[in-house]
Structures are given as structure tokens and as C-alpha cells.
């Protein structure tokens, strides 16, 4: 799609001038951790990110949080500011489902570029696995579909993605084996990530033999549910130097959002989803001054296996209808054509939106990804997806400043 968006040059100038960077990251343990609250995870992750940057808590003057599925707060960011003991000059709660983490980076960047803050802590944490009540889970499912015109038909969240998967498979002759191979790759990557929740080897057969949740999706086509926290610090190159931050920075090159629908009832065609993903990615790519082919590493929201295929194609990383074969050929693995989610993603590492996707992209670009390190990685794309492939957000991060 050769859309030219208004304001791209201005956005590029702003990012060039400010040199926005990811300067510190923190991840707590992930998995089933029943003895910690949502705010405990938020605090721990924040501390880890502040320590990773080697700065003091009082150096942080901006706070971006999201929401909790367990602790229902009306003003999440300020509730956490109080708990954590800070008085930020800029604060915001981003709540766009799975598109949140990626957009936190953009929110922080815009706050910095407009003089609202210099050092922004972005943090999410939740005890989703251990803390959510069955009524909380029902409320979450209900939130994802129309309460009046969809929910009474027993539509579930995996079911919504299954509806997209069924249509995708119909239009492009994709197979369950191809979907399964996405989960297999994520599991291979998770085996190399210290805090990953699921590390046992997984085969295509294992996925196909796992319990069917909503046809055509099996248990292992669905992401894990986990407890844990994750945080990152966004600032400018200049401020990072001033504070003596030693981490090699990952520079923000571009960002964009794209919207298709909230309810599947409003979906006209599969192309409507592709267009939303493409809108989000193309804005980020154009601001960065790159093409999809320039992406070395892709961090794609993988709540379900189908999501990854739709994103690969919507973003223009793989031609339409070919992502299934691409995945099946193992080309999403570390060392192959386009490594995707080198940390194991939502399917195997942990589910905290795309927080870990952003963090892994930064770790890879700064050369701190250990056994998972991809050589010569210069450009990473991170893409978030909220709702039922509804709301999309993308950022491009680079190893070098945007030039």
C-alpha cells in the first residue's frame, strides 16, 4: 500500500531531533506466582528497569502504566504512582488491550518531545493467572465481544480469533499444521529465555493433538496466561548520557496505529484487518524511512497463532496468503529469514501484552540477548494487537540513531 500519510516528515524530524531511546528494561519472574499482587509485580518490574538503567527512582519524571485485569482501578497510573512512591510530572494510563505496550513507547516519546517529561517509566504487571476471579474472566471475555449482539451467542475470545482463522484458511487454503508451526517456533525460542513459562519441546503433532478450544484453534494455538511484571525506561540520548546510563540505547525510529473494528460483526472483509495492520506498520516504516524488507527482527503480537500470520502479511513482511508456508518452513526461527519473537512470545514465554516484545527488541539491539542473540540485528519492528485483531500499534527501533 503506497499511502502517504500527512505529518510523516514532521514526525521524523521530531524523532531525529529528540533521539528517543529505550534506556533500561526490567522483567520479573513469569509464570504461576500466587504470592504476589498486581502492584507488587509493577513495583518489582519498575525497580528492575530503574536498576538496569543505573539511575535513581527520583530521576524518573514520567509514568505510563496500563490497566489490571485483577485490581480494578479507575486511575491506574496515579494509583501505582502512589503505591510506588513517586510524584511524576507526566502520567498516563494506556488501555488499548494488546496494542498497549507498543503504544506506551509512543506515548512516552510524545510526552518527551512536547516537554512533559524527560525520563518516562513504562510498566505493566499483573497476577492474571493466580489472581483473576471467574467473574473477572467472564468480564474480560464479555469485553472482547459485543455484550448485546455477540456475547449471548456464546462467543469466546479464542472463538473470535477462531472465526478469523477459519476465514483466513478458507481464503488462502492455509492449514492447521501451518498455524501450529508458529507455536512450535515460539516454543523453540522460549527454551532459550530464562524466565519463560513454557520451555518443553513442542511439535506440530503436539499442537494438533492438544484439546480443541474453538475450531480450528487448539490449546497450543492459544497463548499462556501468566503472572509477572515488566518495565522499560524511555528517555532521550542526551538525557541518558547526562544520567550516565551505560546501556547501549535502542532508538525509536517510527510509530503508528491502525484500527479495523471493535466487534467482528462490524468486519466487512479480511482485508479490513490487513489494512488496519498495514496502516499501523506503514506509518512506522515511513517515519523510519525504511521498507518492510529492512526489518531484521520482528516482534509480533501472538495471542493466537493466527494473529502472527495476519500480522506478517498485513505488515508486508510476507506476501498475502504465504505466511503459513513461511512459518511451516521454519523461516521465523533465529538464524533464518526473519526471526520472530526471539523470546518465545505470548505463546510460550509469558502474557503481559507486548511488554516483553518491546524489551526483547531492545535487548537484541543492544546485544544483550544471550543465547538468543541474533548477529548484526540493526532494525526491529514491534507490533501490538488489541481486541480481536482490532486495534494495532507498531514501532520501529534501531541500533543507530535515526538518520
Amino acid at each position: 500500500m503506497a499511502t502517504n500519510f500527512p505529518g510523516i516528515e514532521e514526525a521524523r524530524d521530531i524523532l531525529k531531533k529528540n533521539k528517543i531511546v529505550v534506556a533500561g528494561v526490567g522483567e520479573t519472574e513469569q509464570g504461576k506466582i500466587p504470592d504476589k499482587s498486581s502492584f507488587h509485580f509493577l513495583s518489582q518490574a519498575s525497580k528492575l528497569a530503574i536498576e538496569d538503567a543505573g539511575i535513581k527512582k527520583s530521576d524518573v519524571d514520567g509514568l505510563v502504566t496500563a490497566f489490571s485485569l485483577v485490581e480494578h482501578t479507575f486511575m491506574h497510573c496515579t494509583t501505582f504512582a502512589d503505591y510506588f512512591g513517586m510524584r511524576p510530572s507526566f502520567f498516563s494510563s494506556v488501555a488499548v488491550g494488546g496494542a498497549t505496550a507498543v503504544w506506551m513507547v509512543a506515548e512516552a516519546a510524545m510526552a518527551i518531545a512536547s516537554g512533559q517529561a524527560e525520563v518516562v517509566l513504562c510498566v505493566r504487571g499483573d497476577n492474571t493467572l493466580s489472581g483473576i476471579s471467574s467473574s473477572g474472566m467472564v468480564a474480560l471475555i464479555r469485553e472482547m465481544c459485543h455484550p448485546e449482539f455477540e456475547y449471548p451467542y456464546g462467543l469466546t475470545t479464542p472463538g473470535g480469533y477462531a472465526l478469523a482463522a477459519q476465514r483466513y484458511m478458507h481464503e488462502y487454503n492455509a492449514t492447521s499444521e501451518q498455524l501450529a508451526s508458529v507455536a512450535v517456533t515460539m516454543r523453540k525460542h522460549a527454551a532459550m529465555k530464562e524466565n519463560a513459562m513454557s520451555k518443553d519441546p513442542l511439535t506440530v503433532e503436539d499442537v494438533l493433538n492438544s484439546r480443541i478450544i474453538a475450531e480450528p484453534l487448539h490449546k497450543y494455538d492459544c497463548s499462556v496466561i501468566s503472572d509477572g511484571g515488566a518495565a522499560f525506561i524511555i528517555t532521550t540520548e542526551k538525557k541518558a548520557q547526562e544520567l550516565g546510563i551505560q546501556n547501549p540505547p535502542a532508538y525509536l525510529w517510527g510509530m503508528g496505529e491502525g484500527y479495523s473494528h471493535q466487534y467482528l460483526t462490524s468486519l466487512e472483509s479480511l482485508d479490513q484487518i490487513y489494512n488496519a495492520i498495514n496502516h499501523s506498520g506503514t506509518k512506522a516504516f515511513q517515519t523510519a524511512g525504511i521498507d518492510p524488507k529492512d526489518v531484521d527482527l520482528a516482534y509480533l503480537y501472538d495471542c493466537f497463532t493466527i494473529t502472527v500470520l495476519l500480522e506478517l502479511e498485513g505488515l508486508g513482511l510476507v506476501p498475502k496468503g504465504q505466511a503459513g508456508v513461511f512459518a511451516q518452513e521454519g523461516r521465523l526461527e533465529i538464524g533464518k529469514d526473519l526471526p520472530v519473537n526471539t523470546h518465545g512470545g505470548l505463546l510460550s514465554q509469558a502474557h503481559l501484552g507486548a511488554m516483553h516484545h518491546v524489551i526483547e527488541a531492545a535487548l537484541q539491539l543492544r546485544g544483550d540477548a544471550g543465547d538468543r542473540q541474533v548477529d548484526d540485528a540493526e532494525v526491529a519492528l514491534v507490533h501490538g494487537n488489541g481486541g480481536i485483531v482490532s486495534a494495532h500499534s507498531s514501532i520501529v527501533l534501531g541500533k543507530q540513531p535515526l538518520s
Binding site: F149, Y153, T265
Partner: protein, 140 residues
């Protein structure tokens, strides 16, 4: 009223602007809202046309009740405890002959006989005294 107590699955929370829809369902009629200003049909029902017209002048058009399965998923789990022990149910997005899409269930057939493109027609399921859900069955 006894029936209302035994039906534990989710029921729609009717809004002022959707009441005509649910009232018609109770009478086994399927209505689709239309902007009088542009003549465009839309679904789901809302108080304002989602088109550029932003019109609140909505009229209800009687649907022919026929359409085709656009996509579907045989659900082996429901969204609440009330589904426990139930056989799998088919959730489908049906493209109506009038052009709009509706989320629904496909009933009166083996779930595994459902296919994309299958012609279906509305049937009305009086799940409680107050609420009737329009569902669809294959056209024989």
C-alpha cells in the same frame, strides 16, 4: 417466569435504542436498522447511523431472514460456567442477503456440517419470556 430462572447463559442487556429490535425478535421478526438519510442499512443497531451522515433518523427494515455463513467456529468451550457439559456450539458470522453481518449460532444441524458459504435462514429461539435470540439453520 420459571424459564427465566433456568436459562443461565448470557442474555443481552437491552438499551433504549435497541429495544425495537428485541421487541420484534419476540414477535419472531428480524429487523435491520437503516439510516433514512442515506438509505444505508447497518448492523449492530445503534442510536446513530455509523455513516458520515451521523443521522439519528433511523427506520427499521424487515429482513428476509436469509444469508450465508461468512465464517464460523465450533466452540468446545463457552464463555461462562453455564456452558459446562454442553455439546459444542457453532458461533457464526452470517452475511445477510441485505449485506450486513450478524453474529449468531447455527442450529438444527450437525456442527461439522457447517461450511463457509452455506445458505442459512433465521429461526427464533425464545430463550426466556423476555428475550428471543435470532439464530440460523441451514436452508434445506
Amino acid at each position: 417466569m420459571a424459564e427465566e430462572k433456568t436459562y443461565k447463559k448470557p442474555l443481552p442487556e437491552v438499551r433504549p435504542e435497541t429495544k425495537p429490535y428485541w421487541d420484534a425478535c419476540k414477535k419472531h421478526e428480524l429487523l435491520i436498522p437503516k439510516s433514512k438519510e442515506t438509505g444505508e442499512l447497518f448492523f449492530y443497531p445503534r442510536a446513530m447511523s455509523p455513516g458520515d451522515d451521523m443521522s439519528e433518523d433511523i427506520e427499521w427494515v424487515k429482513s428476509g431472514g436469509k444469508g450465508k455463513v461468512w465464517t464460523f467456529s465450533v466452540h468446545h468451550m463457552g464463555p461462562s460456567k453455564a456452558y459446562k457439559g454442553d455439546p459444542p456450539h457453532v458461533v457464526a458470522l452470517v452475511e445477510m442477503d441485505e449485506g450486513v453481518k450478524m453474529m449468531t449460532n447455527i442450529v438444527d444441524c450437525d456442527p461439522h456440517d457447517v461450511q463457509i458459504g452455506m445458505e442459512v435462514e433465521v429461526v427464533f429461539d425464545d430463550v426466556t419470556d423476555e428475550i428471543t435470540l435470532p439464530k440460523f439453520k441451514p436452508v434445506k
